[in-house]
């Protein structure tokens, strides 16, 4: 189906600043080029346009403060149109002809798996700044989004304790939904609960009458909603209209697509989400971040967890390059291997894990109230992305470039 603009706009943001303090001895001169491949049109645009703005904000701040080790940052931005093929085209383009130093790319897990082989092929370095189903063990990737051991190992036991042990999952039918549902199933069973139902919904489906009835028939204590994209978000309105009235738990809603702002209350009442950041987080760091974000982009509808992750990723990259004195990937990874690449950002202090190149997070349990205001009944501090490392992925030793799941762990 037609979607998005066919012409591609490359926006270049090379702001050479006056205060170029060449403090660290850099191997190369000229700007550091950062490729940005994010969906600015199509089904995912609502959740991802803000990521480009967050990266722009960080780039402008970094340039105003003298760049990365004295070199200005230049962004090379392409609109990937929520289309996996575009990711592959543009990933080749930024790595081959634009010759960027690093790429910030991707929202859906399908898009990440579409471009990841290309990053491997050209031996590039990519940041994936999205929460996802976990398990990517790849030296060419740095992941700043939260993963299941951070989002589900906290959320699901809390929900089972609060509401009961019968769980129904509805999930988007692609790698993210399937693998996330596998995590939910595992954690529910480990905690002595029962899966009373599981349904996978093709992307783009917007009519949920039958699904709603299946849920009512199975009588769960709560529903895990792992729905993705604008079309599937129609579920909440339709479930509320049919008076389903069950608490919901999710790793993707609110924190990405700000459904609580878009839908009429009380359709998201009793939705619980584990997220590492949303704009309602009430800390001084968060407030300062929101203030400068809105000063630069006054019309931004919502500052979500991906915006924070993208912003944090820019500063992590800056600190790695300044410590290594080069943009060479192996030199940067040698810095990550030391285990102290950290940043104090909008969501608190976060650090990169050497074994998996994933990030530690403070995880906020966000509850949507009847009037769609947000409260935080619980915060889990400094949850590390431990699963990959414990399962046997160690990027300081070798690079399998694979994605693992609980049922398909690394072979030791």
């Amino acid at each position: 189906m037609p979607s998005g603009s066919q012409f591609v706009k490359a926006m270049r943001l090379g702001v050479a600043t006056a205060a170029l303090t060449a403090s660290v001895g850099m191997a190369q001169e000229g700007p550091i080029k950062i490729g940005v491949l994010e969906d600015q049109s199509g089904d995912f645009a609502a959740a991802t346009m803000v990521k480009v703005n967050a990266i722009t904000l960080a780039a402008e701040e970094i340039n105003a403060a003298g760049g990365i080790g004295g070199r200005p940052v230049e962004l090379v931005v392409y609109d990937t149109q929520s289309d996996n093929t575009r990711y592959q085209e543009f990933m080749r383009r930024v790595l081959q002809s634009d010759k960027v130093d690093v790429v910030f790319a991707g929202f859906s897990s399908a898009s990440r798996e579409a471009y990841r082989p290309i990053v491997n092929q050209f031996d590039g370095l990519a940041f994936y700044n999205n929460q996802y189903e976990g398990g990517v063990c790849d030296a060419n990737m740095i992941v700043t989004g939260a993963v299941p051991e951070q989002q589900f190992s906290t959320l699901i036991p809390w929900m089972m304790e609060t509401y009961g042990k019968n769980v129904y999952t509805i999930a988007a039918d692609y790698n993210f939904g399937q693998i996330s549902a596998e995590w939910v199933r595992k954690i529910v069973e480990d905690n002595g609960g029962t899966m009373v139902g599981e349904e996978f919904i093709p992307l783009g489906v917007s009519q949920f009458s039958q699904t709603i009835q299946n849920i009512q028939g199975a009588k769960p204590d709560f529903v895990v909603t792992l729905l993705v994209g604008a079309a599937q978000a129609s579920y909440y309105e339709q479930a509320a209209a049919a008076n389903v009235g069950l608490p919901m738990a999710s790793s993707v809603n609110v924190g990405q697509g700000y459904e609580h702002k878009r839908f009429t209350p009380p359709s998201l009442k009793d939705m619980y989400v584990t997220t590492n950041y949303i704009e309602e987080v009430d800390t001084p760091e968060s407030k300062a971040f929101i203030e400068k974000f809105r000063a630069r982009f006054p019309d931004e509808p919502y500052i979500n967890q991906e915006a924070a992750n993208s912003y944090i990723a820019m500063y992590l990259y800056k600190s790695m390059v300044e410590r290594a004195g080069t943009t060479d990937r192996e030199a940067l990874r040698a810095e990550i291997a030391k285990g102290d690449v950290c940043f104090d950002g909008p969501s608190g202090k976060v650090c990169l894990d050497p074994k998996s190149q994933h990030m530690s997070h403070n995880i906020f349990l966000a509850k949507v109230n009847e009037d769609h205001s947000i409260e935080f009944p619980k915060v889990w501090e400094n949850i590390t992305p431990y699963w990959l490392g414990e399962a046997g992925c160690d990027l300081t030793q070798n690079d399998p470039s694979e994605q693992y799941t609980p049922s398909n762990p690394p072979t030791k």
């Binding site: 919904i201 093709p202 079309a231 878009r262 019309d299």
Partner: protein
């Protein structure tokens, strides 16, 4: 027993209403007029956006929905006069042109109005049968689908406009010879198709996410219904919607949403292989 029967009827009615409401505009523009309108989804989006905007300004929802339909209809007539009119004898070119319109509309709305729009909320609450809760608004949609079919039947078979419109589309030269302003009739008919698409958007706006690409979630179902139905709305699209609704509701209840979609698409493959003229072509075979 009653509860099970009711639940199946409700699911069938829900699928039927969606297929009928989503496809009526396309049935007129594509089924009757023969224009392959890839911008159908964008007329739906237009209706939904106008409806939501009016409803948020305090206009009562039924009036807001009519406003959405009217707005889509007017835009449809303008597009007919400026673009579609030149392409009636070039069906392949009309695909490219309407596809272009659809991209301009989606991207234009994204740039001007942003990536999402505040919803309006489903009115009328819920009721319960045998332990299951159902949305009342969905029953209203079912009634509207039936009403829409009846209304269009009366319009095309029992009014002067209907007779002239059918004459114009079947034999434009003869119609012109009897003094009919055929280009005006084409404009009005296309506008009616666009208005019905806008109505679909308005009716479903309270139940869905409002985003610039929302039309694409209607378009597969619409085309499937019209292709299976063939050229005639009443002998084609209506029974096609009924058959597809049974298949979809049954498959979804049995194996989930994915199988509902597979069932829909398998039906199209089988039907166009066995009846190239669609259901109405098959019913009308030998009658010429």
């Amino acid at each position: 027993m009653f509860a099970t029967a009711f639940s199946f009827l409700y699911q069938f009615g829900d699928a039927f209403a969606f297929l009928v409401i989503a496809s009526m505009g396309l049935a007129i523009i594509f089924g009757m007029m023969g224009v392959i309108n890839l911008a159908h989804g964008e007329f739906i989006m237009c209706g939904a956006y106008v409806t939501a905007t009016l409803a948020q300004k305090g206009v009562p929802l039924p009036l807001a929905i009519l406003g959405g339909a009217a707005c889509a209809g007017i835009i449809g007539m303008v597009i007919e006069i400026t673009i579609i009119r030149r392409l009636y004898h070039r069906p392949l070119d009309s695909i490219v042109a309407t596809w272009g319109i659809s991209m301009v509309a989606t991207q234009g709305v994204l740039i001007v109005l942003g990536s999402t729009m505040q919803g309006v909320g489903t009115p009328l609450g819920s009721f319960s049968v045998g332990g299951y809760f159902y949305s009342v608004y969905r029953l209203v949609l079912m009634a509207i689908a039936v009403g829409l079919l009846l209304g269009l039947y009366l319009l095309f078979y029992h009014t002067r406009f209907g007779v002239i419109a059918r004459a114009t589309i079947q034999l434009p030269r003869m119609a012109r010879a009897t003094g009919v302003d055929t280009s005006r009739i084409y404009t009005l008919t296309f506008g009616l198709g666009a208005a019905l698409a806008g109505l679909a958007g308005g009716l479903y706006a309270p139940t869905m996410t409002l985003v610039p690409t929302m039309g694409s979630t209607f378009i597969v179902e619409s085309f499937v219904t019209v292709v299976i139905g063939g050229g005639d709305i009443f002998l084609g699209a209506a029974p096609a919607a009924a058959i597809l609704a049974v298949i979809r509701a049954g498959m979804t209840a049995w194996q989930g949403q994915l199988f509902g979609q597979i069932g829909l698409l398998l039906t199209v493959i089988v039907v166009i292989r066995l009846m190239p003229g669609g259901l109405s072509g098959w019913i009308l075979r030998g009658r010429k």
